[in-house]
C-alpha cells in the first residue's frame, strides 16, 4: 500500500509542476496577478508531495519490502540501518527521485526565502523550475519508476553494492545533487531575466546568494567523492578524470566563473549577456552530466545501469531545455546594453580573465569527454584519459593563479599600471624567492613544484595584502563591522585555492608508491618510516567476513608510532571482495597501506604502501573554499529589501 501512495504522490506532484510552471509564466507575461500568485503555493505543495513520495520509498527500504523491485535489487535484511536510508539513492531510480526532491526543496526555498525579489520575477523563476521538475517527474514515471512491484516478492534482497556501503559515499550524492541541482536557481533567474529583459545589478544581487550556496555544496560534494575514491579504491588516486567526474567538475568550473561574473554585473552593471549565458551553461552542464551518467553513451566507472530508452528521453529533455534557453538567449541578449565601459586595467578585467580561463578550461574538458564519441561516429576508437586532461587543463588554468592575485588588489573601473606595479612588485619578488627557498628543501628539485608553490604563495600573500588594504585606514572594530561577509568569502575562497594547489603539487610530485611482498616480521622503509608487518587475522563481522593485516609503523625522526590494520572484506550476499585501506592521516603526509592477496602458504602477502605528502591539503583547500562560499552567501546585503539603483561602484564595496 505504502509504495502505491508514493507512486500516486509522484503523479500528483507531476500535475502540480504543471501548475507551478504554466500559470506563473503565463500570468507574468499576461499581467494576471492571480496566476502569478499561484507560484508560491504550487511550489510548496509540489515539495510536499515529492517529499511524501520520497518518504514512502525510504519506508519500503526500512521495512525490507522486497515486493518492490527497486528495494529487492538494492537492499538486504542484513544491511545496517544507515545504508537502508542511503540505499534509497543507491541506484538509478531512487537517485532520480532524490534529484527531484532536491529540486523541489530549492523551489520551496526560493518561494520562501526571497522576499526582496519582485513577485513577478519570483513567479517566473519558480515557473522555470517547475518546468524542469515536470521533465524529471515525467522521466521517473515513464521510464524509471522506483515503486514498480515485484511479484511474487523476493525472499531476500540482492544487497546494496558494497562499494556504496560507506558513510562518505552515503552522503556524497546528496551533497553533489544539492550543488548541481542548485544551479537550476541561477538558471531560472537567468531565463526569467531574459524573458523580462531585466538583467541588472539588482538581478545579479538576487541570483548571487543562490549561486553561492549551490556552489559550496557542489564543492563539498566533489571533495567528498574524491576523498572517498582515495580511501576506498585502494590505489591512492583522488581524481581520475572519468566522464562522470568531469560531469560534476564542469558545472563547478562554470559555477565558479558565474560567481565572479555576477560580481561584475552587480558592481558595474556590465557583462550582462555573458553572465546570463554562464548561468545557462552551469545548469546545462549539470543536465549533460545526468545524460552522460544515465544513458550509457560513455563508459564510466560510476555510470548507472544504462538504458537507451532513458538516454533518448534525457536527450530530448536536454534539447528542449538547453536548446530552448540558448534560443531565448540568442533572441534577447543582443538587446542587453552594458551600463559602463571596461578598462583593460581594472578589477572587472581581471575577473573577465578568470572567466576566460575557466570557460576555455571547461570547453577543453567537454571536448576531451565527448571526443571519443566523435571519433567513434567516424568509425575509430580512442580513449581520452588523465594524461590528456592533466596536460591540457593544467596548462590552461596555470595563468589563472596570477590573475587571482591581481584581481584581489586591482581597483574597480580603472587602475594605473604605475599604481598596480608599485604595489605588487615587492610581494611578487618575495614570493618567487620564498618559493625558491622552499623548493630547495624538497627531496629533489622539480620546476613544476616551484611553480605550484610560487602560485599558491602569491595567492596567499595577495589575500593578506587585500585584508591589509581594507583595514589599514580605520580602527579595527570599525573595519570589522563595515566589512561585508562577502569579502571574507572571497578571501577564504582564494586561500582555499592556494591550499589546494599546495596539496596537488606536492602530493602528485613527491608521493612514494611501493608494491611489496611481505611476510610476518618483515620491515620496509619508506620516506623515513619503518613499516613492520605482523601477520593477518580473520573475523566474522555483521554482513561480511574480514581479513585484517596488522602493521606497526615507526619513525625514529619524530618519535612516531602507529598501528595500522588494512582489511579485506568479503560481503556475504554478493560474495564480492572489498579492500579497506588503512591510512594514518597527517597534516603534512598520509601513510597508506592496502592488503592484497596471499602470495603463498607461508604467510606472504602482496602489500601496497603509499607515502603521500600534503594530500590532506587537497580536501582542506576544498573545505576552506566551501566555507568561503558560505560566507559569501550569508552576506547581509543580499537579505536587505533593496530598492536602490546600481550602487556607487567604489573600491571598498569589494566583491
Amino acid at each position: 500500500m505504502i509504495p502505491e501512495i508514493g507512486h500516486f504522490a509522484l503523479i500528483i506532484a507531476l500535475f502540480l509542476s504543471v501548475v507551478q510552471s504554466v500559470f506563473p509564466l503565463a500570468g507574468a507575461s499576461l499581467g494576471i496577478s492571480r496566476w502569478v500568485a499561484l507560484a508560491k503555493p504550487a511550489a510548496l505543495t509540489q515539495l510536499l508531495f515529492v517529499a511524501i513520495s520520497y518518504v514512502c520509498l525510504t519506508w519500503a527500504f526500512l521495512q525490507n519490502d522486497f515486493s518492490v523491485l527497486y528495494v529487492a535489487t538494492n537492499s538486504n535484511t542484513e544491511l545496517p540501518i544507515i545504508y537502508l536510508i542511503s540505499g534509497v539513492w543507491g541506484a538509478h531510480e531512487g537517485s532520480l527521485l532524490l534529484w527531484v526532491l532536491i529540486l523541489a526543496l530549492w523551489s520551496g526555498a526560493v518561494a520562501i526565502f526571497s522576499p526582496n525579489v519582485p513577485q513577478v520575477m519570483r513567479a517566473r523563476v519558480l515557473g522555470v523550475m517547475g518546468l524542469i521538475s515536470f521533465g524529471f517527474l515525467l522521466f521517473i514515471l515513464l521510464t524509471s519508476n522506483p515503486f514498480d512491484r515485484l511479484f511474487p516478492a523476493a525472499m531476500e534482497g540482492r544487497d546494496l553494492n558494497p562499494l556504496l556501503q560507506d558513510v562518505g559515499l552515503a552522503i556524497h550524492p546528496p551533497m553533489l545533487y544539492i550543488g548541481y541541482v542548485g544551479f537550476s536557481v541561477a538558471f531560472a533567474f537567468s531565463i526569467a531575466a531574459l524573458i523580462s529583459g531585466q538583467v541588472d545589478s539588482a538581478w545579479a544581487r538576487w541570483a548571487r546568494p543562490w549561486t553561492n550556496v549551490a556552489w559550496l555544496f557542489l564543492t563539498a560534494g566533489i571533495a567528498l567523492g574524491s576523498w572517498w575514491a582515495y580511501y576506498e579504491l585502494g590505489w591512492g588516486g583522488w581524481w581520475f578524470w572519468d566522464p562522470v567526474e568531469n560531469a560534476s567538475f564542469m558545472p563547478w568550473l562554470m559555477g565558479t566563473a558565474l560567481m565572479h561574473s555576477l560580481a561584475i554585473t552587480e558592481k558595474r552593471g556590465t557583462f550582462k549577456a555573458w553572465t546570463a549565458l554562464l548561468a545557462i551553461f552551469a545548469f546545462s552542464l549539470s543536465l549533460l552530466g545526468t545524460f552522460l551518467v544515465r544513458s550509457g553513451v560513455l563508459t564510466s566507472v560510476h555510470a548507472f545501469a544504462s538504458d537507451p530508452e532513458r538516454g533518448v528521453f534525457i536527450l530530448a529533455f536536454l534539447v528542449i531545455v538547453v536548446g530552448g534557453s540558448l534560443a531565448l538567449y540568442s533572441w534577447r541578449a543582443p538587446k542587453m546594453k552594458s551600463a559602463a565601459q571596461t578598462n583593460l586595467l581594472s578589477r572587472e578585467m581581471a575577473l573577465l580573465c578568470n572567466n576566460i580561463f575557466l570557460t576555455v578550461a571547461t570547453a577543453a574538458i567537454l571536448l576531451g569527454t565527448l571526443y571519443p564519441i566523435a571519433i567513434d561516429a567516424m568509425g575509430g576508437k580512442i580513449s581520452v584519459g588523465p594524461p590528456y586532461f592533466n596536460i591540457v587543463f593544467l596548462s590552461i588554468t596555470a595563468p589563472l593563479g596570477i590573475f587571482i592575485g591581481i584581481g584581489m588588489l586591482i581597483r574597480w573601473r580603472k587602475d594605473t599600471p604605475q599604481n598596480l606595479w608599485s604595489r605588487i612588485k615587492i610581494p611578487a619578488i618575495g614570493v618567487l624567492l620564498v618559493a625558491f627557498l622552499i623548493s630547495l628543501t624538497l627531496p629533489q628539485w622539480i620546476w613544476s613544484a616551484f611553480a605550484g608553490l610560487a602560485m599558491s604563495l602569491w595567492i596567499a600573500v595577495t589575500a593578506i595584502m587585500a585584508i591589509h588594504e581594507r583595514f589599514k585606514n580605520r580602527p579595527l572594530m570599525t573595519s570589522l563591522r563595515a566589512t561585508p561577509s562577502g569579502f571574507y568569502g572571497m578571501i577564504l575562497g582564494h586561500v582555499g585555492i592556494a591550499v589546494f594547489i599546495v596539496g596537488i603539487t606536492l602530493t602528485s610530485l613527491y608521493n612514494v608508491e611501493k608494491d611489496l611482498r611481505m611476510a610476518s616480521g618483515d620491515v620496509y622503509s619508506v620516506a623515513g618510516y619503518d613499516f613492520q608487518f605482523n601477520g593477518v587475522k580473520k573475523e566474522d563481522i555483521e554482513n561480511y567476513v574480514s581479513t585484517r593485516g596488522h602493521f606497526t609503523v615507526t619513525s625514529q625522526a619524530d618519535d612516531f608510532r602507529a598501528e595500522l590494520s588494512p582489511e579485506k572484506r568479503i560481503y556475504r550476499v554478493q560474495q564480492s571482495p572489498m579492500t579497506e585501506a588503512a591510512i594514518d592521516a597527517g597534516f603534512t603526509r598520509d601513510l597508506f597501506i592496502a592488503l592484497g592477496e596471499p602470495l603463498d602458504d607461508k604467510g606472504s602477502w602482496a602489500i601496497r604502501i603509499y607515502y603521500k605528502p600534503f594530500i590532506r591539503w587537497i580536501w582542506l583547500g576544498a573545505i576552506i573554499m566551501a566555507l568561503g562560499g558560505l560566507f559569501a552567501a550569508s552576506d547581509r546585503r543580499y537579505r536587505q529589501e533593496s530598492k536602490e539603483k546600481i550602487p556607487e561602484p567604489t573600491r571598498e564595496a569589494v566583491v
Binding site: 535489487t73 590505489w235 566507472v301 555510470a303 580513449s383 596570477i402 606595479w421 611578487a428
Partner: protein, 171 residues
C-alpha cells in the same frame, strides 16, 4: 488461473534476467586496486612500469587503467608489460606493442595524429582566439568611448599598459 500463473512466471523470469544484468554491472563496474608484487631491474624501470600501467586502458573494464583493475585481462596485460620491460623494451615499444593488438583505444594518452589534432590543439587555439577577440573589442570600445582624447596619446597609453600587463603576466 493457469493463465495468471504463466503471466506471473514470465514476469519472474523477466525480473531474474534483470537481476542478472544488475549483477553483471556490479562486477563490471567499480572495482578496486590490484596489488601485485613484481621485481624490477632498476627503480627507473619500476617507475616506467607504474607509468605504463597507469596510462594503459583495461579493455574489459568500464573506464579504468591496468593499474586499478582486478580483471583477468588486466592482470595478463600487466604481466605482459612487466615482461616486455624486463626484456629490455622501452615504454614506447611497450605502448606500440599494445596498440598493434588493441588499437589506439588502449592509450589513455591519445597520440597526436590527424584525427586528434582538434583534441590536442583545439583548447589552446580557442584560448588564443578568445583572448585576441576580447582585447580587440576592449580597445575598440575604449577608443570609441574617449574620442575627445588625442588618438596618438591614447594609443601610446594603451601600448604602455599592455607592456606593463605583459610584465605582470611574466611574473
Amino acid at each position: 488461473m493457469s493463465v495468471k500463473r504463466i503471466a506471473v512466471k514470465q514476469m519472474w523470469v523477466k525480473q531474474m534476467r534483470l537481476f542478472a544484468i544488475v549483477g553483471l554491472l556490479i562486477f563490471n563496474g567499480l572495482s578496486q586496486a590490484a596489488i601485485e608484487f613484481h621485481q624490477f631491474k632498476s627503480p627507473q624501470m619500476e617507475a616506467e612500469y607504474n607509468q605504463l600501467i597507469g596510462e594503459l586502458r583495461c579493455l574489459v573494464c568500464q573506464n579504468q587503467n591496468l593499474a586499478s583493475s582486478n580483471a583477468d585481462l588486466a592482470k595478463d596485460l600487466r604481466r605482459q608489460t612487466h615482461e616486455l620491460l624486463m626484456e629490455g623494451n622501452t615504454p614506447d615499444q611497450v605502448a606500440d606493442y599494445m596498440v598493434a593488438r588493441y588499437g589506439d583505444f588502449v592509450l589513455y594518452r591519445p597520440p597526436l595524429q590527424k584525427n586528434t589534432l582538434l583534441l590536442w590543439l583545439g583548447p589552446f587555439f580557442l584560448l588564443l582566439l578568445v583572448v585576441v577577440v576580447v582585447f580587440m573589442k576592449m580597445r575598440k570600445k575604449q577608443v570609441l568611448v574617449a574620442p575627445e582624447q588625442d588618438a596618438m596619446a591614447k594609443a601610446k597609453q594603451l601600448l604602455s599598459q599592455s607592456n606593463e600587463k605583459e610584465q605582470v603576466e611574466k611574473l
